[in-house]
């Protein structure tokens, strides 16, 4: 459905996206994973055909640069920054974008979306008065107005609290199960594991891995740091020794212990310490 060949985007001397190639089949859910500045957002903008690029990107055989209108008819987009016209009210905004998408804003489909995303009671409110989370939901409603086969989402849960994030992810999973193709960028590992069938790992604009989410940690190494707190300083030395004994890099730091952890196995040091009879009172992750 989506074919990307040697996609390259340069801003002056900076190469934001460097010769990346991949295919996405219909119905797949694919994550673009990478740290901030890895080139995820730029790659998505190239796919949408809103910035010029080198290489070839096609969506259902439509070249997204030369046939961008036709390609964008098949896509719905949820941006990272919610850039609506703040002076318009919600229903005006939906009506405006529905006209551009050649669809209606007064269908059962739209009403159900508004209900499902909790926007129904906000339709007379100015967009500028909505919270970041509500704007994100509005962006999803707009993306789904014409029921496109492909959804492109840039950090879709970046502005959402924990509860809203879970709801949003559940809806995206439903949409994927109903046959929609998802391509989303994220730097949240949990989100990628929950939602993606495949992960494309970007590093400094280059595609360094194309793997299932379960294998993502192999490409990332010990990136996260866990700080453990105990009931009293007497546990600090045995905790460090226990963790070092299990191959972790751990060190005492003030009243706690810092330990480097493997993504997707962040709680493992806690269970190891519990097995060793060392009770962990609290923890924080960096």
């Amino acid at each position: 459905m989506i074919q990307v060949q040697n996609l390259t985007k340069r801003f002056g001397k900076l190469t934001a996206v460097d010769q990346i190639s991949f295919d996405i089949k219909a119905g797949e859910s694919v994550a673009l994973w990478g740290e901030n500045g890895a080139g995820k957002t730029t790659a998505l903008r190239c796919l949408l055909g809103v910035i010029p690029y080198d290489g070839l990107v096609t969506l259902n055989d439509y070249n997204t640069m030369k046939q961008s209108k036709k390609a964008r008819h098949l896509m719905g987009f949820v941006p990272q920054e919610m850039n609506f016209h703040d002076d318009m009210v919600v229903h005006e905004t939906i009506y405006f974008y529905a006209r551009l998408k050649k669809t209606t804003a007064k269908s059962e489909h739209v009403a159900a979306l508004l209900e499902r995303l909790g926007l129904i009671s906000f339709i007379h409110r100015r967009v500028g008065e909505l919270s970041g989370g509500m704007k994100q939901r509005l962006a999803l409603v707009i993306a789904l107005l014409s029921d496109p086969p492909v959804l492109i989402l840039d950090e879709p849960t970046a502005n959402l609290d924990v509860k809203a994030r879970d709801d949003f992810l559940a809806l995206l999973i439903e949409l994927n199960q109903s046959g929609k193709t998802l391509l989303f960028s994220s730097h949240r590992l949990e989100e990628v594991v929950t939602l993606a069938d495949r992960v494309l790992v970007l590093d400094s604009g280059r595609l360094i891995a194309d793997c299932p989410p379960a294998e993502l940690s192999d490409h990332l190494g010990n990136k996260a740091k866990l700080k453990l707190h105990f009931d009293g300083e007497k546990w600090l030395v045995p905790a460090v020794e226990t963790l070092l004994g299990h191959g972790y890099s751990a060190e005492r730091n003030g009243t706690g212990v810092w330990v480097q952890v493997v993504p997707l196995e962040k709680a493992r040091p806690i269970s190891l310490l519990a097995e060793a009879g060392i009770p962990v009172a609290d923890f924080q992750i960096e």
């Binding site: 008819h73 896509m75 609506f84």
Partner: protein, 277 residues
């Protein structure tokens, strides 16, 4: 292929936005207020209301148009793309199934209509004031003057769009637009006179230089409409009338149209090359 329904949708939105745009409201109120004030003065200047008519009031409005309309077109045009680019709304708009040309045309048409509304309001209320005082003699010329002012507005708006497409920040775009306005308004006549004296250029070259300024084009066309000659503009005006005769007005208006089309094409090319960032 341009989809007209997209252009209409975008221009309607632009027109709605103009109602909430403080710059536009300020310009519209200022233009209407000054137009009414000038009409009142033009009417009272002859001692008896009603004797001035549209011709005299139109002449007094020419200077107002030369001052306010380019300022309105240049700044609103400069704010249009740069402002939306800065807010990120331009990027989101272009992720919809619309082309860059449709977006440009829609925004341009919407702002042009908004300016037309402001012009019609200003000229219209002034016209009503004159008609109320019994001076409705040159109504046809008055309407032509409004249309020519609209032509100047389109050329200014187009130049504003060109500035907007080339700059990333709205403050920079407005700064450049104001500088250009200053250049066109205050250094039009004075600059030409100065250049003519210093370089000792011929009268035909002086006239050619005047054609490079859309404000001069409007001024010449408006004076030609009201007085049927350009003697008031000196040797260059006399030369223009003698050389081009009855074709002069059409020539001036055609160049004004070119001043609208060429910057707009330039805007499209820059926009296409730069993308929305």
């Amino acid at each position: 292929m341009i989809d007209l329904s997209n252009v209409i949708t975008l221009s309607q939105k632009e027109l709605n936005d103009a109602r909430r745009n403080r710059w536009f409201i300020l310009y519209a109120v200022a233009f209407t207020g000054l137009a009414l004030a000038l009409s009142w003065l033009a009417l009272s200047g002859v001692g008896t209301y009603g004797l001035a008519g549209f011709g005299r009031t139109g002449a007094s409005l020419v200077n107002l148009v030369l001052l306010v309309v380019p300022l309105m077109g240049l700044t609103l045009g400069a704010l249009s793309l740069a402002g939306e680019r800065e807010r990120g709304t331009l990027l989101y708009l272009l992720t919809q199934p619309i082309s860059q040309a449709e977006l440009l045309l829609g925004k341009f048409a919407g702002l042009a209509l908004a300016i037309l509304v402001a012009l019609v309001l200003g000229f219209g209320l002034s016209g009503l004031l004159i008609a109320w005082q019994g001076g409705a003699t040159d109504a046809g010329n008055y309407v032509t003057l409004v249309l020519m002012a609209f032509g100047l507005a389109l050329a200014s708006l187009s130049l504003g769009f060109l500035i907007s497409s080339a700059t990333g920040k709205s403050a920079t775009a407005v700064g450049i637009a104001l500088f250009l306005w200053l250049l066109l308004v205050f250094f039009g006549d004075l600059g030409l006179m100065g250049t003519a004296i210093v370089l000792r250029i011929d009268v035909d070259q002086l006239f050619t230089l005047a054609l490079l300024n859309p404000l001069q084009l409007f001024k010449m066309a408006a004076i030609l409409l009201i007085r049927s000659n350009l003697e008031v503009l000196g040797p260059a005006g006399v030369y223009a009338v003698r050389t081009y005769g009855s074709q002069l007005l059409a020539l001036l208006l055609a160049i004004l149209v070119a001043w609208t089309i060429i910057p707009l094409v330039g805007t499209y090319l820059i926009f296409k090359k730069k993308g929305v960032l």
